[in-house]
Symmetry: D2
Subunit: 139 residues, 4 copies
């Protein structure tokens, strides 16, 4: 299992007139958290695209338990439970505020596809190698 | 069952460097489609808030089947299958492009809550009355 | 002079906790207004990009006179006072609400550049031809 | 003169199909930079709103010199040249990328107004006191 944590400060732009973070903005928070998760490994999503592979989102589930507010310092936990065996990868996200309250739960499924053709492919070997040590071999 | 259709033109701002609509923007499309759905009944979400009731989103599921592109004229179908009996309402959304291809599927659950206290409440009677004719009495 | 009008309904996502449209969202409104302005001529910005020319914004000025609110039906007036002679084009925008109050003034300067090289170029001839009749010859 | 620097990592959501940061997103970057500028003083914009004063933007000027790209680590310099004497405050912003190239210039004028009435007011004394030491007395 590979778990990372990223902090995001809520911007004024991200609130709406309900005085909370607009529900559509969590997708951005999840994106940032995924990008920082990979950066922690010493790889970047930018490098992946430069190498011809991109990761469109194909499915997202979100549960909004409590609202986030302007200027909250959110902690986004990103969890990769399984090392993907094919073109599909599932990230889970948990959003906490500075009082350690759980605000939001997210599940995001992405595909590895080739830039240009949109053809399904696998996780780049360089990233797989970096992730391997978090997933001890099953016997 | 209450079904409406709304059209949205994809803005340049809504695309990302994958040359498609960023996945986080569909939440906005669903919001617009819900608002227009209610407006079709002769009621507005703005009126609901003015009457002291607001509708935070508590759950969202989205499946991204095909990408939307800049300047696409999307049709968002909004489906209300059941008249809510309590504080909870479920809208389903289907996004089609101008070639009638199904791009995206969404399910959004919202609560009716009182502004200020965030206390759960029921759909305002004036809206329920307008919706009733789409939901013949079960016997 | 070439003047067009476009209507935009304010989305909930576009408000912030000040209960008004977030100031950063007017850039999107101006973008939509420019795109619709060109569409009125029988040409689209999408076609321009397909023909290898794109239009990055190089300068923007905005004055916020009165706030816009959720669900307001805005009218964006787009004014092209001069037919560009080189790579530079200036659009002026005026945003009105449904009570015909002037809310916002904008000036946006864009360049015509070649996709790929970012090299400055001129307005495509096909668009110039369509615009010509709004700009009688000076003598 | 009061100068601060804030870093912002470009999100994927903030790019558009031109492969650069959408021009409308700089307003958010400026907002974050202003908020962090004030936080550096030991005060927050959130506290200001809690004390009944808010700061709507009334004017913005932006020059886009070079594009920002996905994953760029931007440095936003925020400059307050004069301590405001009335309801009006002017911030200047300079956006640099990780190669220290100047990308964008911004000027943003905001008003201090009372929440609720939108009546013009002055900068809260607590903030003025914190700023004073950066502005030696003229004689």
């Amino acid at each position: 299992m590979f778990i990372t944590e990223t902090q995001i400060r809520v911007r004024y732009a991200e609130t709406d007139q309900m005085n909370v973070v607009y529900y559509g903005n969590y997708a951005q928070y999840f994106e940032v958290a995924r990008a920082e998760s990979i950066r922690n490994l010493g790889f970047t999503y930018k490098q992946m695209e430069a190498a011809g592979v991109m990761m469109p989102v194909v499915e997202m589930q979100t549960k909004f338990l409590r609202p986030a507010h302007y200027d909250d310092l959110l902690t986004i936990k990103t969890i990769l439970r399984e090392l993907p065996e094919d073109h599909r990868i599932l990230f889970e996200h948990e959003v906490y505020n500075q009082e350690k309250k759980l605000l939001t739960l997210g599940k995001v499924i992405l595909y590895f596809v080739k830039i240009g053709s949109f053809e399904k492919t696998r996780m780049p070997e360089s990233l797989r190698t970096l992730l391997q040590r978090f997933f001890p071999l099953k016997s």
